[in-house]
């Protein structure tokens, strides 16, 4: 790590962002899986919604 800075970013805070990034990635992974199934089971609903939106 070599960064010229004028504020102290805090080592802990930098490391924490790595952890949060990893957690966010995991959450996003599961959200994508959930969305995949949601799409399968709600295909009809989604299509209806899209059609309705077009009417508006």
């Amino acid at each position: 790590m070599h960064i010229p800075l004028y504020i102290d970013p805090g080592t802990g805070s930098l490391l924490l962002q790595m952890l949060l990034g990893a957690v966010a990635a995991v959450v996003l992974f599961y959200k994508r899986i959930l969305y995949y199934f949601y799409k399968i089971f709600n295909k009809k609903k989604l299509e209806e919604k899209i059609n309705n939106d077009d009417e508006d």
């Binding site: 970013p9 802990g12 957690v23």
Partner: protein
């Protein structure tokens, strides 16, 4: 033609603010030239100023003898306020602005190198970012350098208010670089740990900071975070901050307060008196001292360039902010300032952040309605001190005299010995006439209260 450097701009070595002939300038030093070019060439500067998220500026010829510098003249902010004078509503908006700017910056290959709340001001009813030199080139894989500062300046004070910690503005005054996260953790209730959004940014952040502070081995370690993940973190912060609300108990009692103090029959007379003066004078600035719900600030709004209204009560100011946002009264700036103990000057040499009194506009029209009995009977101030104080910044003063036998004065004296023999109308008028010329006075019907309009001698 004297150049006066802004005392608070020593932290950043890439430039500084100075004042000359009543104008504000920002000097950009060669160390920032590359980032400044990127800010312009990437289109970020244009995007942010176009959306009024960042103050606009014009580039000007270097007329100083400072050598190799670039000079820009930023748009002027008529009144500088500080985060510890903002309500929850204002701090939340300033936090969201900072996050929006960081997201826009990342999209164009830049990042905010700091995230202090002092970089935000209020202009035309909206928060606006004022530090044009806060942007630096984003390097792929780098975490957000200003994340900790954002948590200290915005997140911690907001979360504490969400969990009902009172009088936060006074605590914020003490910590010039934002609330230490350790302090927030100690003040927050246990249940805040169960909130999966708050826990990592506050509690875990404080823990990590404690654990790795001064750890020299970390220098060789690679801290990497992809841009996609960084954007996700910022988005998460945005969703969290947007969802923040003050607890119900904090906002309800102010409605009661509102009804209680403004149900008197002569309110219309008072409104007319104030409106006529504001309309006739059309001043640059009106200062509403002890504004309470801000009824009279609203009356004055169409006639002044700016209305600064302040009250010591944080929830009253919070509600006023929401109220004027709804009504789109963009020239009113409500602030949490205690009349009997206004914001002090803080920071290096007590010069970095100015006191409230120092920042007050000169030659304002000042309102002091239903306030004098509080100042004298509760706080033992003398008419002399009050008149002298108002005369410092008010060319015109609209002041309401509340006699001692008024029910509101009597309430204040219930638990106090009456040591105020000189609290009389005659004495009041004679003292104020040492500083002011009497222009007009009006007795309010159904009470012995009298409204005065004074003009400074």
């Amino acid at each position: 033609m004297t150049m006066k450097t802004e005392q608070s701009s020593f932290r950043d070595r890439d430039g500084f603010i100075f004042y000359q002939d009543d104008e504000v300038y920002r000097a950009i030093l060669p160390s920032y030239y590359e980032d400044y070019s990127l800010l312009k060439d990437s289109g970020l500067l244009h995007e942010l100023t176009d959306k009024h998220l960042l103050v606009g500026h014009e580039e000007c010829e270097n007329f100083t003898d400072l050598g190799d510098i670039k000079l820009i003249k930023p748009q002027k902010i008529p009144f500088i306020s500080y985060p510890y004078e903002w309500s929850f509503h204002q701090l939340k908006r300033a936090a969201l602005l900072t996050l929006d700017i960081q997201l826009a910056s990342l999209q164009r290959g830049m990042s905010l190198k700091d995230a202090t709340a002092f970089n935000v001001q209020f202009l035309n009813g909206k928060p606006i970012f004022i530090d044009t030199l806060s942007f630096e080139r984003y390097k792929e894989g780098e975490p957000w350098q200003a994340y900790k500062q954002f948590c200290q300046h915005f997140l911690a004070p907001l979360v504490m208010q969400v969990y009902g910690v009172d009088e936060l503005n006074k605590i914020q005054q003490v910590y010039i670089d934002g609330l230490p996260l350790d302090l927030a953790v100690k003040a927050l209730p246990f249940r805040s740990r169960l909130n999966l959004s708050i826990y990592p940014h506050i509690h875990l952040n404080a823990k990590y900071e404690r654990k790795y502070k001064g750890d020299t081995k970390i220098k060789d370690k690679k801290i990497a975070l992809s841009k996609e993940k960084l954007v996700q973190i910022i988005n998460h912060l945005k969703v969290m901050v947007s969802s923040f609300k003050l607890p119900k108990s904090k906002t309800n009692w102010t409605d009661y307060y509102q009804e209680f103090s403004y149900n008197d029959s002569n309110i219309q007379e008072k409104k007319d008196f104030v409106r006529e003066i504001a309309e006739a004078l059309k001043p640059a600035a009106i200062v509403d001292s002890g504004s309470n719900t801000g009824v009279f600030s609203e009356i004055c709004s169409p006639y002044a360039q700016q209305v600064i209204s302040f009250d010591f009560d944080a929830s009253v100011i919070h509600n006023q902010c929401k109220n004027i946002a709804k009504k789109k009264l963009t020239n009113i700036l409500p602030l949490i300032v205690d009349m009997i103990n206004p914001t002090p000057a803080i920071g290096w040499g007590n010069e970095e952040r100015k006191s409230f009194v120092e920042r007050l506009p000169q030659d304002a029209v000042t309102l002091s309605l239903a306030l004098i009995h509080h100042l004298v009977l509760s706080n033992n101030l003398t008419f002399e001190k009050i008149a002298e104080f108002y005369a410092r910044f008010s060319k015109n003063l609209v002041i309401e005299f509340v006699p001692k036998d008024d029910i509101q004065s009597q309430r204040l004296l219930v638990t106090k010995r009456d040591i105020f023999a000189d609290y009389t109308l005659e004495h009041f008028q004679s003292v104020f006439e040492k500083y002011y010329k009497l222009i007009r006075k009006k007795e309010l019907s159904g009470s012995k209260r009298i409204l005065y309009h004074f003009e400074r001698l």
